[in-house]
Every structure is written in C-alpha cells, then in structure tokens.
Symmetry: C2
Subunit: 210 residues, 2 copies
C-alpha cells in the first residue's frame, strides 16, 4: 500500500514522464499542452495544477532531474577512468550509452537549449556550466595539464562540452541506425577532443603562432 505522499509523487513523476514521452515522440516541449500531458499521464487536466503552476515549472523540474543524472554520469565516468589509457574514448562511450538510454531527456535538453523560456534556458545553462567545471577539475588532476593555467583549462572544458552537446542532436537523429554509425560518432568526437586537449598543452608550454 502506498502512502498519500507516495501517490502524489507517483502522479507527479507520471506527468513529467508524459511530457518527456511526448517530446521523444517528436513534439516540441514549448508547444505541448497541459491537457495533453495530463491525458498522457492518465489524469484529468485540472489535476495538473496540484503539482505544477504551469508547463514551465514542470520543465524546470525536468532540468533538475537532468542535473542529478549528469552528476551520476560523472561519478560513473570517474570510476571507469581509473585505468589511465583511453580515458576520453571510454568516457565518450559512456556518454553515448547514457544519451541513448535517456533519449527523452536529451531531446528535451536540445530543445530547451535554444528554444526554452528564459528561465528554462538559464537553468539548463547552469547545469551545463557546472558539468564543464567538473570536467575542468578532472583535467587539472592529470599530469599532462600541470602547466596549463586555470582559465585556459576552463575554456577548454567549456569548448568540449559545447561542441559535444551541439552534436548530441545528430546522435539522437541517427539513434535507430546501426551500431557502426554510433561508433563513428564516438571516434569523431574523441579525435576532436584530442585536438583541443593537445592544443591547450602545446600552447601552454610554448605560445607561438595563432
């Protein structure tokens, strides 16, 4: 038997999942109606208000969830990266699996990044910024980046996050294709990241041409 609070949290999650499901089916979050979400969650429209003021508030809660998920991903990646060689490749593989396992969330992410309300964009930007800072912190621990100054490291991390995030939509678009395509995606990302990483190092020890 479930307590009253449990039941409430249950339909709350049902509402959020309903929204994510609609997004995954191809709808744009900003044009999904409250009623549609309620219907998809098996609840009457007016019940929506017991949980969220409006769709934006629901969206903000999804962003929060994404924040938690990203932290879990980082933790997994760190454990996975204990063995030094091929850290980038293994982290990237982990990320791709993660995206594929949470398509709805990442479709939502890609939509909100450029098309969400100001509050939603702001919230998402904060999460991604935090993610980049964590990444910069991890890079700092590697001996190869000992000579790289702090702001450069930060810039490099943000650059990587930006570019990888930007291509996430491509991953989602070809998610139903063969595993080879996914491997190619990973390989290209790894190569590109290596450009940035060696570039920051090279520039740190001998700053010459631009």
């Amino acid at each position: 038997m479930l307590s009253r609070e449990d039941k409430k949290n249950q339909t709350r999650k049902a509402l959020m999942n309903a929204a994510l499901q609609l997004v995954e089916q191809g709808q744009n979050f900003s044009s999904i109606s409250l009623r549609e979400v309620a219907k998809n969650a098996g609840v009457v429209p007016t019940s929506f208000y017991r949980h969220f003021r409006d769709m934006e508030e629901l969206g903000l809660n999804i962003v929060d969830d994404i924040g938690l998920m990203l932290r879990k991903l980082l933790r997994a990646a760190r454990q996975n990266a204990a063995a030094q060689p091929g850290v980038v490749l293994r982290s990237m593989t982990l990320l791709v699996e993660f995206v594929c396992a949470h398509r709805g969330y990442f479709w939502f992410l890609c939509q909100v990044k450029g098309g969400g309300t100001p509050a939603l964009r702001r919230a998402l930007r904060n999460e991604l910024q935090h993610f980049a800072q964590e990444l910069a912190g991890d890079l700092r621990l590697m001996p190869a980046f000992a000579q790289v100054n702090s702001t450069d490291l930060d810039l490099a991390a943000r650059f990587i996050v930006s570019a990888v995030f930007d291509t996430t939509i491509d991953l989602l678009d070809q998610i139903d294709s063969l595993a080879e395509a996914r491997d190619l995606y990973i390989a290209q990302r790894v190569r590109q990241i290596s450009f940035v990483l060696t570039g920051t190092q090279t520039l740190a020890q001998g700053p010459n041409k631009a």
Copy 2:
C-alpha cells in the same frame, strides 16, 4: 508602381519577417500560429496559404535565406582576412556583428537546431555542414595546415562550427549588455579556436599521447 508579382513577393517577405519578429520577441517558432503570423504581417489568415502550405514551409524558406546570408558572411570574411595576422579574431568579430545584426534569424536558428521538425533540422544541418566545409577549405589554404590530412581538417572545422554555434545562444542572451561582454565573448571564442587549430597541427606532425 509595383507589378503583381512584386506585390506577392512583398507580402511573402512580410510573412517571413513577421515570423522572425515574433521569434525575436521571445516566442518559440514551433508554437507560433499561422494566424499570429498573418496578423503581424497585416494580412488575413487565409491569405497565408497563397504563399506557404504551412508554417514548416515558411520555416524552410527562412533556412534558405540563412544559407544565402552565411555565404555572404563567408565572402566578407575572406576579403577581410586578406591581411594574415589575427584572421581568427577579425573573423570572429565579423561573425558577432553579423549575429547582432540579424538577431531574429539566429534566434530562429538556435530554436530549430534542436526543436524544429525533422525537415527543418535536416535543412539547417545541411547549411551548417556546408559552412564547415567552406571553413575547412579556407584552412587548407594556410601553409600552417599543409601537413594536416583532409579528414582531420574537416573534423577540426566542424568542431569549431559546432562549439561556436552552441554559444551563439549566450551571445543572443546578453545582446543588450555592454560592449565589454561582447568583447569577452569574442576573446574566449578566439582562444578556444586557437586550441583546436594548434592541436590539429601538433597532432599532424608528431602523433604521440591522447
């Protein structure tokens, strides 16, 4: 006096501009109604159909316009880059000015990238891919990249385009702030691009660690 065809093209442009204006005012393209666009263009709703089948077709035409604009930008950048030193900085400055001068278009771009219909995303992806290829072609002409192989050059160009594009939304969000913020934005992008460029070069002449 305007001919009949001229008048048609005129209201056609009015419809597209109306959509872009609404986007610039904060609305999401995918949730803008045909009626709203028509009203904003000073035309009755049913008149919309004389020009576009639906909002998606209007969007596709905007993407086409963006393609043309990007080609113009590239041409300007090449002329501007005749003098070798500081090419990246000057190109980046040009791009930022360009974005600021066409806010509506770039808001639309950012929205469609992750939240457009499949056809819209596809069209936009093609334009950006073309842009990246042009950029790769420009890089190839520089003596510093003589030793870099073709696929690496392509990857580097795409990486830069991805990351810069991803941060465009940040530019748009702080477009009303001081010029200093804009300069900081440019400086950071230039630094990040230099990471990638020197990275590709370094990796081309001596491929060692990852």
